[in-house]
Symmetry: D2
């Protein structure tokens, strides 16, 4: 079963987060997960995927213009009916990652996707809408590495759910 | 297959909208759909349901306190894994129904539900996140009856999706 | 006192809404209000304006990519400290106009603007976050003309507030 | 000039955050700032205040039912025209604090308040919509103390803005 993670990344942090999710997905048997930049997305792979997770950094507490523009073609990607997830990165804990996830999920609903995060139903960590990483640029106590585990777990949970529904 | 619509209603408008959704669901074969007020919800029926749609009016562009309070027990309802939807009523076109739906869906994600609206994937009417009805109290050109058809269609689409996934 | 309305419009509906807001603003003494497309915005005028209202259509329940891209330069427009408002147009009552307004206001907060809608404090019509017009393409009972009055009132209230604060 | 911070707190973390904001406010000359629990709010003081900041924890990525209920009486508090701000606490970086702030600000707009965060207009730290603290219960690298400084700065900036507008 194919699963795709699609991201927009400027500095590499969001790419890193996307790859952690794909790594977590690939822990699940019979899953072939790949992470793609929006600049280099394999639309054939995405079309065959049973689930797609989308993420980008928060710019001004909103998704990036690049991602917003890219999503306009989402209707052509055949995403309807697939399992959908979202994630974000940000520079501050209050920096807008949740607004980004909520907007991404709203776009996924419009595509006809089945949005799912697991929430509190799988115990700790609770992953409310999707995982967020805060880099260490502005908050020295933070940094990408602190969030590695939650992205791996999110990817694994997402793949298990996709396998349960469509495997 | 059981499906539940759960609502909070003061004036009866949201109850009416909930019943339209249930009516649309019952158009689909082998579906037994019922609408319940939060004051009188049949938790056994809800527990057996494969999909749950939740709705309430917009008060101050936010869900009602009654619904917010009721949802705190949502974890005990066993909603994880069910198909989830949301709807709202409002007094003005700009009155907050979409904020209500977005908050309800966020709560459903935290319960571990699969959120789905159909979006643009089933043609017109596009139902972005969920249906909203504006009553005619403040906007004379509006009124509940104008929205009857979209609630019926939403219910029918939701039931078809639930049957496809879990039937 | 200068006031600006800035919009992105494809079909002319959002341009119409922007012009109604400016017309309402110009009802207030000593106000010089103008509406500008993002393609032709007079940045000198905007820089001198004491208040700025921003609006666009809902595409997929999100602001348009054009507006999202344009707002990235907002930091250079010197919007900090100005009174800020937002509006939207949509094709369906549930079509995402409120999500658009909420995202626009979030961007305005990041610019350091003072966001204000009047809300319920000025009686009816209550304007919760900002005005929204639904055109008649998909909902025959709707149409731009039904919303003319609320856009005029919003513009007038906004100008009165700007005059009270900065006049 | 009086300024009020109003909070709902169960464990004491949100109370702590509220007191940091009030402490930051009191750094500004001629400011008398106080933090009040919703259970013990001095409505006379709040009525005289020129600015009010409201905050609560995130429960299920939404404001607490207690705060939601309390805000229904907000119309009687005479908040219209006051400067408004919001803050939140959460257990996870992705835990919903931003959704809480956005809902609180939406309610403040409905009251007719002037919402302001400073955003990026005052340099670093950028405070997008309002400050958020993540306690250390679930994320060992996090903890309230890491956020003390940003709450103090937010309070100070808020008081300076209120003094500029209404002092």
């Amino acid at each position: 079963m194919k699963l795709a993670v699609i991201y927009h990344s400027k500095t590499g942090n969001t790419k890193q987060a996307a790859e952690w999710i794909a790594e977590g997905m690939n822990r699940v048997g019979d899953v072939e997960a790949q992470a793609f930049s929006i600049d280099d997305a394999d639309t054939a792979f995405i079309g065959e995927a049973k689930g797609v997770v989308i993420g980008c950094p928060s710019y001004m507490a909103t998704m990036t213009p690049d991602m917003r523009t890219w999503l306009m073609q989402g209707g052509k990607l055949g995403l309807a009916g697939k399992l959908g997830g979202a994630f974000a990165t940000e520079q501050y804990t209050h920096g807008g990652g949740e607004m980004v996830i909520q907007s991404l999920l709203t776009n996924e609903l419009v595509f006809g996707m089945l949005c799912w995060s697991g929430g509190a139903s799988l115990g700790k960590p609770v992953i409310h809408m999707g995982p967020i990483a805060v880099n260490g640029n502005m908050e020295p106590h933070n940094g990408m590495e602190h969030y590695r585990e939650v992205f791996l777990i999110y990817g694994e949970r997402f793949a298990c759910k996709a396998a349960e529904l469509f495997g």
